[in-house]
């Protein structure tokens, strides 16, 4: 029996139509399920989370995808599993099922220009290596970009 693709409203997973569930994506170079986690591999994540579930994006297992692209390199049908998983991650972000690290990181980038906090230890280490202090020159421009695209508003709304 053919598996019918169920698309969440507004989502686009056209490539799902050509996935034959052959499993080649899961069997390359000790890829996903063999090595690190039985809960996730591209094939099962497709079938259960992408094709057969209307709430795939709320499954925390999608965050186990490391975006290594190995599945994309080996897929014989150009399905590019990573595109599904990134689409699910995007749905998750829109739907509020987000790993807290990601939300914090976006706010951090917009407010400082860097993805990681700059601590006193960082500055001391840089000074010891005769490296210039880190610049915050980008912050004004990033603020303007975030205002223009609406990201700044969303970040304010999402503040706990």
């Amino acid at each position: 029996m053919a598996i019918r693709a169920i698309y969440p409203p507004g989502a686009r997973h056209e490539a799902a139509e050509i996935c034959l569930k052959c499993g080649v994506c899961c069997n390359v170079a000790h890829s996903c399920h063999v090595v690190y986690d039985l809960r996730f591999n591209p094939r099962y994540t497709f079938v259960y989370d992408c094709l057969a579930s209307e709430k795939g994006a709320s499954n925390p297992n999608i965050w186990l995808c490391v975006s290594c692209h190995k599945c994309e390199e080996t897929c014989p049908y150009d399905v590019s599993p990573i595109n599904f998983i990134e689409a699910l991650k995007a749905e998750a972000l829109s739907g509020g099922f987000v790993h807290p690290t990601i939300r914090a990181e976006v706010a951090q980038i917009v407010s400082t220009g860097f993805a990681f906090p700059i601590t006193g230890a960082t500055e001391r280490q840089r000074q010891g290596l005769n490296l210039n202090p880190l610049s915050s020159q980008a912050v004004a421009d990033l603020g303007r970009i975030a205002e223009k695209t609406g990201l700044a508003t969303r970040l304010k709304e999402e503040q706990p």
Binding site: V35, D37, V66, S67, I118, T122, R126, L131
Partner: protein, 295 residues
């Protein structure tokens, strides 16, 4: 040849000793570096999956700063290379999207024109400097040093964007290590992910298992150390290994070196100058071996 150096976040914030090494050794190979005021995070792509225009605008702003200086970008990070090359390629090809992104970018007084290229330092060293030139600056060949080369995922894939080596059978880093007189080992699991992303967004236990499998394979191949060209991979193999050692019950350690550190050592710089003593994973046997080779 001169490039705008794009440091990204990870190296200047968490691994500044690698920035220091890069600034010392690259000019000695004829790769001159210009600092551009105002570069930001590339940006890290996952957080911008739902906000593609913002992500592209941030990347386009970085690209436009280098364009204004008339310089191609050189990076020290697989992730930055991946993000900036993808944005550069997409915006050069898709004129409608470029105009949309430039509409946002206009707020900052910059404009993406599509006039430069983005290259990882490994691409520059392999393709523009050349292995012969690298070999010619070696004063202290790293003879007998066995190295497990781990190029990382995002310098290899997707190949149509990255244009570097074979994603399923990468060999370029091995050639670059050989040019220093060291011996790249053949090891299993060379192409699997280091696990950094899992540590960050996924599940630390899974990340540790992935890391442990890779370290076991390096150890089985009798590697003295691994060589990396990406700060995330470096962090995972260094700090990550230190943190996971107890859970993994590791009875050995496989220290890691960023390729430019190996290059610095082979060029006659000492362990301190190459930043090796800043690492979390210490192996007296490796330090003794490197000390002897570079004496």
């Amino acid at each position: 040849m001169r490039f705008a150096i794009f440091l990204g976040c990870f190296i200047p914030v968490r691994l500044p000793h690698i920035e220091a090494v890069a600034r010392r050794v690259l000019p000695q190979l004829g790769v001159d570096l210009t600092d551009i005021e105002g570069f930001s995070c590339c940006p890290e792509p996952v957080g911008f999956l739902t906000d593609r225009i913002t992500g592209l605008a941030v990347a386009a702003r970085n690209l436009s700063l280098a364009e204004e200086a008339g310089l191609d970008i050189i990076t020290l990070c697989n992730g930055c290379t991946y993000t900036l090359r993808q944005a550069n390629q997409t915006l050069k090809r898709d004129t409608a999207l470029r105009e949309k992104v430039n509409g946002v970018l206009a707020e900052t007084g910059h404009r993406f024109r599509g006039t430069i290229e983005v290259r990882h330092f490994a691409q520059v060293l392999h393709e523009q400097v050349g292995l012969e030139k690298i070999h010619s600056v070696v004063k202290k060949p790293l003879s007998g040093l066995k190295v497990a080369c781990h190029p990382g995922c995002h310098i290899l894939s997707p190949p149509e964007t990255m244009g570097f080596d074979d994603p399923l059978n990468p060999v370029v880093l091995d050639f670059m290590v050989s040019a220093l007189g060291a011996e790249p080992v053949d090891w299993d699991r060379k192409t699997t992910c280091c696990g950094w992303t899992l540590t960050n967004y996924g599940d630390k236990e899974s990340a540790n298992r992935l890391l442990g499998a890779k370290l076991d394979a390096m150890h089985a191949a009798k590697a003295d150390c691994s060589a990396v060209i990406c700060p995330q991979c470096f962090y995972q193999f260094d700090t990550g290994q230190m943190l996971a050692a107890r859970e993994l019950k590791l009875e050995y350690r496989v220290p890691t070196l960023y390729y430019l550190q190996l290059l610095a050592l082979a060029m006659g710089r000492g362990l301190d100058e190459a930043g090796v003593r800043q690492h979390r994973v210490k192996d007296p046997a490796l330090e003794e071996k490197l000390g002897r080779l570079t004496a």
